[in-house]
């Protein structure tokens, strides 16, 4: 009788352990409390000294649209069309190609010699660039490594354009560049 009880106890114990173990393997839950607050970005665009009134600066200065010119066989330089400001702590930023049209392979590409975007800090030190040059109907594929933008810095972007000698007036190149900010 005593053996029987002992066996029952052991079986009950094993079932209990199994139930407990099985329950633990299916899931467990950790409590996490999150709250989302709408805040202003610390890095934003800012109109430069050469900002053209016809250009567009989006709400909160996180988007802008620039209408540039390119003259055949002459280099046009926009010294300070657009700035970047950092109102927060230091962050890594980079310029990144999002899209370009007409795409490589389109014969209109050959009308351009280059469209360069160069990033300088407020002391004029080069921080990075995206240079779009052409070889025939093909665009180059530039890239830029992240670079640290200190708190309260204001950098500026220099844009240079040049069209090929004999380029056809009215041909447009639309380049969308993302300014990636890593907090």
């Amino acid at each position: 009788m005593a053996k029987r009880k002992s066996l029952d106890l052991i079986v009950l114990l094993m079932i209990s352990v199994f139930v407990i173990t099985a329950s633990a393997l299916v899931y467990y839950s950790l409590p996490m409390v999150s709250s989302t607050t709408i805040t202003a970005t610390v890095v934003a665009f800012k109109q430069g000294a050469d900002w053209d009134d016809s250009w567009t600066m989006g709400t909160n200065n996180t988007y802008c649209s620039l209408a540039l010119k390119a003259y055949p066989n002459a280099t046009l330089t926009y010294e300070e069309p657009l700035n970047l400001t950092n109102t927060g702590t230091g962050v890594d930023i980079r310029l990144r190609t999002v899209s370009i049209s007409p795409a490589s392979g389109n014969e209109q590409v050959s009308n351009f010699t280059f469209i360069n975007f160069t990033l300088y800090d407020e002391t004029g030190i080069f921080k990075g660039s995206l240079n779009y040059t052409t070889t025939g109907n093909t665009w180059s594929t530039p890239a830029m490594s992240p670079t640290l933008m200190d708190a309260n810095d204001e950098w500026y972007i220099v844009i240079q354009t040049k069209a090929e000698a004999g380029a056809k007036a009215g041909i447009v190149a639309n380049i969308v560049i993302g300014v990636d900010v890593q907090e």
């Binding site: 665009f45 620039l66 209408a67 003259y71 330089t77 990144r96």
Partner: protein
């Protein structure tokens, strides 16, 4: 029971502690990962549009300029005053003659002992034909007829030479039924060839008397035979007797008979007795030991008199000898075997003559001749005095096989390589003709025309073009050529000519032309071209030709000591309107010039590049070969206006080409946005 509870509480507490620690670690790691990958991206959209240039560059009225596509790039060339440059040729071209020594410009810069030397070449010739004035008979060749005067023209009047036996061999002489007459007496012929007829039968009486019965006399003329060497002759008799009781054999007498019929020499009598003649035709023979005989006169005849000697008679019967029967094998024919006679004849003669002793550039020899037989192997050779022998190949040698008998053949050869090797210092020459043929028949060589025709130069010319290059391309106002030259002989007719690029010819009169007869050393000629001097240089190039011509039979040298060109041109120090800058967008701009590169500006003692439009704005300033102002001040270019780029204060210390590479910087007023146009300023 209480102890158990307490014990369980302790375990739970430890588990809870581990659980809390684990949760902290996981939570901490989770938070860290979320913080590292958080970023956001702002978009910048740029539209680049190809636009027409708002300002264009245009040609000015001073200097020369090039405006490239879209009028946003220009090149302007102007000349700056500089000391008059002096040039020397840096290349040459031997129009006539061959360069011997010296170089350009090294040898023609200064008047010294270093000359540019060119040897003249022949440019006019004289040809004289010569014919033999003598001859030499070689070997045992004989003169048959004619003289060397017969060799002066191709007129079928011959100088004839007889060949001689140059080889002998054992040969048979066959008895033929053809005959010849010697001094009115008929004789049958002995020939080298076998029977050529149906045969002839001779007979003699064998019925009444015994003794030698003459059957026939045969002759062979000794033309071309100088001797008959010793040998054992075998005399064959094709004979038979009419009856078996007859006893007979053949024998011969051998003698040499002169052409007048008299006997020159009796060689042997009743020799070459044969075996007994049979009573049917058979060929029997006998031998005779022939001693060497020297022919006295080649018109003589070798005579073989055939006999049948009867030693037993039979009344009413004859003995017979058969000759010239082609139905018989040659071995059975009546003949004389193993007589040594010529088997090859040769004719060899050397013609001699004289000529001039000029420096020949060509020699043509001709021999027109024929042979009295065909297929003679002929060799014609012209004696090479340098070689000291008749050549056996190449120049001065010819070999051929003659064609038909008595058909003239003209053989000639043109010698242009060292033709003077074929005469001696006195002008003597000689040509040898030799003909050889394997034959038993003597033949003749008939020379109709032999000519030895040398050509020599009577005029020599040396003409050299001296080429100037890389000179200034400024339009010349005066060109002054100086030529200092001499010749190693006197009285050379010298012509100096400057090339006219307008007419593409060397001038033949007036400026740029000179002609004189040389008479001394380092003669100086100055050619000053003042009328249309721009015709005499092109693209920085010019050329002058110096030509010497002399009637002479030997070469000479042109020795040039100096070739110089002083190149004068006008160059203003101020060019007000080099380029125009025109606004065409209807806006106001601020412009200026800035240098981004340069080349060879050290020679520029002064240069100022300015904007001018009523007022002047100096943009680029060079002084003492150095740019002392590389960027000019801002200058207002108003809407739809044109201003000019001016170059002034120009001065160079030497000739050459300098370049200033600049940008025309066009600034949008009130901004820092600007355009850069390239402008090249070339200052020659």
């Amino acid at each position: 029971m209480n102890r158990v509870k307490i014990s369980l509480d302790h375990k739970r507490i430890r588990c809870l502690i581990w659980l809390v620690l684990t949760l902290f670690v996981l939570l901490g790691y989770s938070l860290q990962s979320v913080a590292g990958t958080a970023y956001y991206s702002m978009l910048m959209q740029a539209y680049g549009t190809v636009s027409s240039p708002p300002i264009i560059l245009e040609n000015g009225t001073a200097g020369s300029s090039t405006i490239y596509t879209n009028s946003t790039y220009a090149k302007a060339s102007i000349a700056a005053p500089a000391p008059t440059p002096t040039y020397f040729p840096n290349d040459y071209n031997n129009v006539t003659g061959a360069h011997l020594s010296g170089s350009v410009p090294g040898s023609v810069q200064t008047i010294d002992t270093d000359y540019f030397v060119v040897r003249s070449s022949g440019t006019a010739t004289s040809t004289t034909a010569y014919n033999p004035s003598g001859h030499n008979l070689l070997g045992s060749t004989t003169l048959v007829s004619g003289t060397t005067t017969d060799l002066a023209s191709n007129n079928s009047v011959y100088m004839t030479f007889g060949s001689y036996a140059s080889e002998t061999s054992s040969q048979p002489l066959y008895a033929h039924n053809e005959s010849t007459s010697i001094a009115g007496t008929g004789y049958y012929l002995l020939k080298l060839g076998g029977a050529d007829s149906a045969g002839t039968e001779f007979s003699a009486d064998a019925g009444s008397t015994t003794g030698r019965k003459s059957i026939g006399k045969f002759v062979y003329q000794l033309t071309g035979v100088s001797s008959i060497p010793a040998s054992t002759l075998t005399v064959y008799y094709r004979a038979y007797k009419g009856h078996q009781n007859i006893a007979a054999h053949g024998d011969v007498d051998i003698l040499v008979r002169m052409s007048n019929g008299t006997i020159r020499s009796t060689i042997a009598t009743n020799v070459a007795n044969s075996s007994a003649i049979e009573n049917s035709y058979s060929t029997v023979s006998g031998t005779y030991s022939w001693a060497s005989y020297t022919v006295v006169d080649q018109t003589d005849y070798l005579e073989i008199d055939y006999y049948i000697e009867v030693t037993a008679v039979k009344a009413g019967y004859l003995v017979y000898l058969r000759i010239d029967d082609s139905n018989l094998a040659t071995a059975d024919q009546t003949r004389v075997g193993n007589i040594i006679l010529p088997s090859q004849y040769t004719c060899e003669v050397e013609f001699t003559g004289s000529s001039n002793t000029e420096t020949w550039n060509q020699l043509v020899w001709t021999v027109d001749s024929s042979w009295t037989v065909d297929s003679v192997i002929v060799t014609i050779q012209v004696y090479n005095y340098t070689l000291g022998a008749y050549p056996t190949s190449g120049n001065g040698y010819d070999s051929y096989i003659s064609s038909m008998a008595n058909a003239d053949q003209a053989r000639n050869q043109i010698i242009t390589s060292s033709p003077i090797h074929f005469r001696d210092v006195s002008g003597n020459w000689k040509i040898k003709a030799k003909g050889v043929k394997t034959t038993a028949t003597q033949f003749d060589f008939k020379a109709d025309w032999v000519e030895f025709k040398p050509t020599h130069y009577t005029e020599y010319t040396v003409s050299t073009e001296f080429l100037f290059a890389s000179m200034t391309m400024n339009t010349p106002t005066q060109l002054n050529f100086t030529v200092v030259t001499q010749y190693n002989v006197s009285s050379v007719n010298v012509t100096i000519q400057v090339w006219n690029y307008s007419s593409s010819t060397f001038v033949t009169s007036g400026e740029g032309y000179a002609n004189y007869t040389s008479s001394g050393s380092n003669e100086t000629t100055n050619l000053s071209i003042n009328t249309d001097p721009q015709f005499y240089s092109s693209g920085g190039n010019a050329k002058i030709k110096v030509t010497g011509v002399l009637k002479t039979t030997s070469t000479y040298q042109q020795e040039t000591n100096q070739i110089k060109l002083v190149y004068k041109y006008d160059a203003s120090s101020t060019y007000d309107y080099v380029l125009a800058v025109t606004e065409q967008e209807g806006a106001n701009w601020a412009i200026n010039l800035l240098v981004y590169a340069n080349s060879s500006i050290a020679r520029l003692s002064n240069t100022t590049i300015s904007f001018r439009d009523g007022t002047t704005s100096d943009q680029i300033i060079i002084n003492g070969g150095t740019i002392i102002q590389s960027e000019g001040p801002s200058y207002n270019l108003t809407s739809s206006s044109t201003i000019y780029i001016k170059m002034s204060n120009l001065n160079a210390t030497s000739s050459g080409t300098s370049c200033i590479y600049a940008y025309l910087k066009i600034l949008v007023p009130g901004t820092t946005t600007y355009l850069l146009y390239r402008i090249e300023f070339e200052i020659t």
